[in-house]
Each structure stands twice: as structure tokens, then as C-alpha cells.
């Protein structure tokens, strides 16, 4: 009798696990795993220094991909040249054998179009999964001569007193481009103080060394909570969930061209075998559906672009965004 009971329990257990296995993402993923891959850790390449926004996103992702796929993932920072070194590595040197996945941002497009000088193009990297998007936000200080002003007030002040309002920028990228647009459209003139990253600019803002800083939410969230900064406007299509009172630039100026977002996505070098590429894509996408990861990302203040989340052809959609950026470069004379 005892044995019958045990066998009965075993059968039930087997049936329930196999029934459960049908909707179990881990099992689904395991089915896609190619034979004898991976036999060594997979590298997630991050082209920015450890501890920064991109790095944090990538490490969170790596943690969850490891959980879901059971493979070992090592995050590797290949830094230098504001991302240029890492991008070039991924595009030209990384072996397309499935062991290298780049977790990159759309700043790749600027590097590819303006700085690669024909050595590589962003089509050398094939997107496999969308991670998240981060929109550029302008913040002002809660101290100082411009406190309490709205974004329109600030721009008007810059118009009345050209070259007095100091804005922190990161040269050669969207931090500058949005200023080009604003200045062109309103006639205002800001004083551009260069920094190596958004975070450094926000530090300068708090120290009273610049008047406006630009950055992403995760870079100033702590200061927001500490009431040291106030957000002025965001360069996105719609308002952000976590800062509902902050207008978008487009709203404030009645336009639709102030769209400056960082799109983070995962890529593999061109030529990666299709089965490995499909497996990696599925692994990242499975991790991206994990509610824990989504919650952690939301805390970072990123948002999920619906168009890219549900994209049927990620590469095409990303290329469309890249094309918009290219048009901007041509229009402003940076590209022929």
C-alpha cells in the first residue's frame, strides 16, 4: 500500500511538473538552447564605466538572464573614448560566436555616423532585444537666481541675457544637440560648460557651478528626494510616470522635435550563428518580462517605449530612429 501511495504521488508530481512546464519560460528557453552552447561564460559588454547608468542597467539584466537561462554571464566594461572604444570593439573585433553580447545605447548611432569614419557602421551590430529607454531631462537647482522658474521662463531668461545661463553638456552628443535646437528656435543663447558625463554636470549644479544640468532620472533621483534639484522638462513624447508634473519640451514649446532619448538594447556582432542569436534573443526577452526586473528598472526612472517593446522587427524600428537622428545631423551640417 505504501508503495502504491508513493508511486501515485510520484505520478501526480510528474504530471503536474510537465503540465507546469508547458507554460514555464525557463523550459521554453531551454528548448531553444543550441547544442554545445554555451560552454563558457557569455560576456555582456558595456562600453561605459562600471557604476554608471548603462552599467547598472546591464548588470540588472545580466542577473536576470542568468536566473532564467542558467548560463553564466560576465559583465565586462570596455571603456574609453566616451564609448567609442567599446563600440569599435563590438563592431570590428568581437568574435561573432555567440559569446559576446553588447548591451549598448543608441549613442552608438552618433559614434557610427560621425566618428567611425567608415571603419564600421552600426549595421555591423544586430539588435536582438530591446531593454529600456531613458529620456533626457533638464533640471534646475532649488537654490540660486533661477530657482522656481519654469522651462519657458528659463529659455526666456537666456534670450534676454545671452551667454549668462550656464548649462552643463556632454560634448558631441544629445546634450549639445538639444541646445542647438532650442537656441535655433527661440533665439536664446546659453553658456555651454562641458563635462564628461551627465552626473558630473549635476554635481556642478548642486555646487552652484552651473545653472542648468541635463541628465537622466537615475542620475539625480537622490537629489530630487533631497530637494536640491527641480526637474524642468523632459525630451520625450509624453510625460513621465514618475514625474507627472514635469512637462515635455514639446508641450512647453508647441513642437514635436524635442525628442532625445537613450534607447538601450542588446546586440550581437554581425555573423553570429542564427541559432545562437535566437537563443540569446529569447534569453534576454524572457528576462525582460520578469516583473522583478521591470520593477527594478522603473525605480531607475527608465520607461519602456511601446513601439519597441512590441516590435515585430526590432532592427527595422531601431533603424528608423537612427534615420531620424541622421536627418538631424544632415540638417545641422554635421553630416554631408
Amino acid at each position: 500500500m505504501k508503495w502504491a501511495g508513493i508511486s501515485y504521488a510520484l505520478v501526480i508530481a510528474l504530471l503536474s511538473t510537465s503540465a507546469g512546464a508547458q507554460s514555464d519560460p525557463k523550459a521554453e528557453l531551454a528548448k531553444l538552447k543550441p547544442k554545445d552552447f554555451p560552454t563558457q561564460p557569455i560576456e555582456f559588454t558595456v562600453v561605459y564605466p562600471a557604476g554608471g547608468g548603462m552599467d547598472v542597467s546591464a548588470r540588472l539584466l545580466a542577473k536576470h538572464v542568468e536566473n532564467w537561462s542558467g548560463d553564466r554571464i560576465i559583465v565586462n566594461n570596455r571603456t574609453g573614448g566616451a564609448g567609442m572604444v567599446g563600440h569599435s570593439y563590438l563592431a570590428t573585433q568581437a568574435k561573432p560566436d555567440g559569446y559576446t553580447v553588447g548591451v549598448i545605447a543608441s549613442l552608438l548611432w552618433g559614434d557610427a555616423m560621425l566618428r567611425a569614419q567608415g571603419r564600421w557602421s552600426f549595421t555591423d551590430l544586430e539588435p536582438i532585444a530591446y531593454v529600456n529607454s531613458d529620456a533626457l531631462i533638464w533640471v534646475g537647482s532649488t537654490d540660486g537666481p533661477y530657482k522656481g522658474m519654469s522651462i519657458k521662463d528659463v529659455v526666456n531668461a537666456a534670450k534676454d541675457k545671452p551667454n549668462t545661463i550656464r548649462v552643463a553638456i556632454v560634448p558631441g552628443s544629445m546634450w549639445e544637440y538639444i541646445l542647438d535646437q532650442i537656441e535655433a528656435n527661440s533665439g536664446a543663447k546659453f553658456l555651454r560648460v562641458p563635462f564628461q558625463g551627465g552626473g558630473a554636470g549635476i554635481t556642478a549644479l548642486i555646487g552652484g557651478n552651473v545653472d542648468i544640468a541635463q541628465g537622466f532620472f537615475s542620475e539625480f533621483r537622490g537629489y530630487l528626494e533631497g530637494s536640491k534639484v527641480t526637474p524642468l522638462a523632459v525630451a520625450a513624447a509624453g510625460r513621465m510616470d514618475f514625474l507627472k508634473d514635469m512637462p515635455t519640451f514639446n508641450e512647453a514649446f508647441g513642437s514635436n522635435e524635442y525628442l532625445w532619448q537613450l534607447v538601450r538594447y542588446a546586440v550581437v556582432p554581425k555573423g553570429t550563428p542564427p541559432d545562437r542569436k535566437a537563443y540569446l534573443a529569447a534569453a534576454v526577452q524572457t528576462a525582460m518580462k520578469d516583473p522583478e526586473l521591470i520593477a527594478e528598472y522603473r525605480k531607475q526612472g527608465v520607461f519602456f517605449d511601446p513601439k519597441l517593446e512590441n516590435s515585430k522587427n526590432l532592427a527595422a524600428d531601431l533603424n528608423a530612429y537612427a534615420e531620424v537622428e541622421r536627418q538631424f545631423y544632415v540638417k545641422t551640417g554635421r553630416l554631408k
Binding site: 560552454t39 561564460p41 565586462n76
Partner: protein
Amino acid sequence: MFERTLNVFWIVFGAASAVYAWSLGMVGPAGPESGLFPFIASIIVSGAGIVLLLRRAVVAPDFPRGGGLWRVLGVILGLMVMAAEMPYLGFSVTSFITMIILLRTVDRSSWLSAIALAFVSTASVFCLFGQILGMALPRGPWGW
């Protein structure tokens, strides 16, 4: 003699660098441009070279001869081999080979002790960095 050559090298190098820096632009509307600081540094290098050349006290360097020279060159060659082959043969193989070469030529150990030491050190470094610390060392065509 050698030192004089070096001083001439400083002068020429500094001058070439200054020309390049000049082409980057010196001063712009926003203050110093990319070239200003390198330009000043290059001028200092050339200037120092000139002053050194004019001095009478000169150092006579004692470069190695004979066995010493070969040993030094051996180490340099060993490092060049490591840097050149590591991307292709992977870390383990390259360092094993290089260590054997170094131990045999520079040190003149016996084959047995050279191989043993090379194997042990390569393996322990590989384990320490590759496994324990989790650092990705280059892998060769054999996967390790």
C-alpha cells in the same frame, strides 16, 4: 653619444608634436582649444632637449653587453610574443610557451623544471583570474 642622440630626439619629437598641436587649433571663442596644452608641452619638450644638448655634463649609460644584453632582449621578445599571440592562441597556451622560452633562454633551467614551472604558474594564474575572480582571459581556438 647616446644621450646626445636622445636629446636631439626630444627636440625633433617636440617640434613635430608642436606642429600637430598647432593644427588642432590654439585658441578659440570658448578659450583654449584642443591644441593649446599639447602645444605648450611640446615646446617644453623641445626646449628641454635644447638645454640638455647644450650642457657639457653628459651621462654615459651602461648598456648591457653579451649575456646581459641577450637576456634583456629575450624578455622583450617574450613579451612581444605574448602580446602578439594572445588573441589567437589564447592566454593559457601563449603564456605557457612564453614562460618556457624565457625560462630556457634567459634563465637556462633544464627542460623539466621549465615545463613544470611554466605549467604550474600558467595554470594557477588561469585558475585564480579565470575561475575565482571570474575575469575573461582570451581563449584560444581550443576553447581554453
